[in-house]
Subunit: 427 residues, 2 copies
Amino acid sequence: MPTKAAPDETHDPARQSWVESANAPGADFPIQNLPYGVFSARGSARHIGVAIGDDILDLTRLEDLGMLCPGSGRVFDEGILNPFMKLGPKVWRKTRAAIAKLLDASNPALQGDATLRQNVLIPAADARMHLPFFVRSYTDFYASREHATNVGSMFRDPHNALMPNWLHLPVGYNGRASTVVVSGTDIRRPMGQIMDAGQSAPHFAPSARLDFEVELGAVVGTDSAMGARLSTAQAYEMIFGYVLLNDWSARDIQVWEYQPLGPFQSKAFATSISPWVVTADALEPFRKAAPAREVPLLDYLHEETPNNFDIDLTVDLTPHGGQAHRIAQTNAGALYYSSAQQLAHHASSGCAMCVGDLLGSGTISGSEAGTYGSLLELTWNGRDPLAIGGKPQSFLADHDSVTISGACQGAYRLGFGQVSGRILPAD
Amino acid sequence: MPTKAAPDETHDPARQSWVESANAPGADFPIQNLPYGVFSARGSARHIGVAIGDDILDLTRLEDLGMLCPGSGRVFDEGILNPFMKLGPKVWRKTRAAIAKLLDASNPALQGDATLRQNVLIPAADARMHLPFFVRSYTDFYASREHATNVGSMFRDPHNALMPNWLHLPVGYNGRASTVVVSGTDIRRPMGQIMDAGQSAPHFAPSARLDFEVELGAVVGTDSAMGARLSTAQAYEMIFGYVLLNDWSARDIQVWEYQPLGPFQSKAFATSISPWVVTADALEPFRKAAPAREVPLLDYLHEETPNNFDIDLTVDLTPHGGQAHRIAQTNAGALYYSSAQQLAHHASSGCAMCVGDLLGSGTISGSEAGTYGSLLELTWNGRDPLAIGGKPQSFLADHDSVTISGACQGAYRLGFGQVSGRILPAD
């Protein structure tokens, strides 16, 4: 199975859309992107859409009109991407090419029909975005070597920061699917058991060390059977696309609960994702090799192709009524394990993988301060507070907003948009 | 909200059914039980049924016929229990009473109509059982103090076997929902990364330390909202019923992978459950208080009522072509944390709980050898092999079958049936 599709006309940097805003140099959603999402506008039900410039192309209506029919039955009528994803990578590519054609500057079909255009092209500003797919399961990995090293240094031993297994397998754990929410959803500060230093018993209180984690989320688009293992090439083909992901974390709850079975309530209260799923096909030109291996990987984790992506990520923290502070800039390209490797490892025991499974990359940290993907690391567990609005701050305060943005930059810019969330006080 | 319903006529020990096999003293499924399951027979689609003696009462057909209508629309037509469970505890109780009435020896409605009876009463021997509900998420706890102590003694420190958090909170982790299977499903021996003693790198191989874990599974029947916490009383009311659960475990994969984020592929390949969901209502007469608390629990874990259940459990190991060996007998009554406490803790951060969530109790072990709920403990990690068919055996061999049975015994016997699975060789 070919795992590196040749760039085709959907990746042509010169291609322009008749949707003018898509051609602006700083646009997140040029005609080369075409990410999928779920929106409602003007009181309508949830429709499937594709972002183009400042607008959304309504695929549910196009399917209604018989102008875009990826399946033999309807796939855009349930308000989630799962039925479309289930059709598999060949259909994903064909549909992407068909949508690009509809939006191409040289094609009069839509642009020349004002009534039709008005019916299927909705200003993004008028739309409300929803969770783009039913999250069947959520799994969170730990694939940034710098992050794992930082955490190991703080909580275990700076001289043996990485666990012995880390260089051999993509360490991960099952998270909670029921609380994956779309960008813009307010996040309630969690309560939980906290063991304060010097105390002999925990108390139940609002988390005082609430944090974010910058991650990339891979969206599994097809099933694998129970008992079936996957090569990294097969795994790569199963991934429909990627979102930005904020794995909200309560560090004080986590440090008390996590031994020996891993994080639980400290992560279960919320995980936010960006509303637009950027397809693996759109990311083709931005593939990047993983870092050199310090020890050889076992065969089932071997990659024939570069499966990382060169994605710049930024984090802005905005206190209540204040200005946004850029607190971190990092890049997803240096992750030690790709999503394809994570998925291959996930199925290595025979674990069945499903349409709608979401795989978090793990916190993405670079090798120096300012490139770390969590407050835990940026403030070194509170030792070195940031200055936010002139005041020292180590963890998230009530009413703070955290916004993660992401974009690739090559012959053109390809953006993810943002994932944003605001902290509400515990109640 | 009352959390200990008064025993009613559905718990009357003197009550008999016109289905004669239900009245036998050793029957698992007397008229006081009425567990729900999903079956197909004679090539039909999946129907919802209730076990009664050696037969199954077909609720899907009864709903078709207008003789049992718990909801305003149909709830027994999707081949899973989720739509019925969603109706909530009042409807569960009403439906249970209505089914008991239909099956009561004094009621001629069904027993007097041979054609109708033949249409809605199917011999269990003719039926194939299926997974009874869509498993939205699977969470596994660690609620047996003896089990946690045994594992801690073997792998950490016999003098400090329990982690400091264990007496304060029900330790748990998210498992994998996609590989929860019904009893009778063959289990493929998993492959995985294994680090042998004295080696510097792991190899990828079939697990050589494959194990079972005896657990009770609680089935969540109603939703809780994101951000909502639950009292143990509210949590108790949300639990529709219980199944026997075998949390298959690959110990060699587990010991290498589990730090610091918990078990992952070592548990992801399969979890088996018994096909009949014994309702919380049926278990009312068998409630039992949890053991005395060594340290006080925080308020949110406080229980006003006894929320454990006095359930005898046995484990039989049957080698290929050989005899069944009874290798363990234990009881669920001594679990340190009840399912209600586990569910209250699960929601304590604001984690949304869902219809179809499955909560494993954790391995149920007693305080002496022969009452341990895993081979890891029964053989003390291979130090003291069992004698199976005259040969020493520490972990599961290919073609071994493991069968867990469970029943309550009071004024009458109330059985769970069995959860069984056979090991297929790795491939």
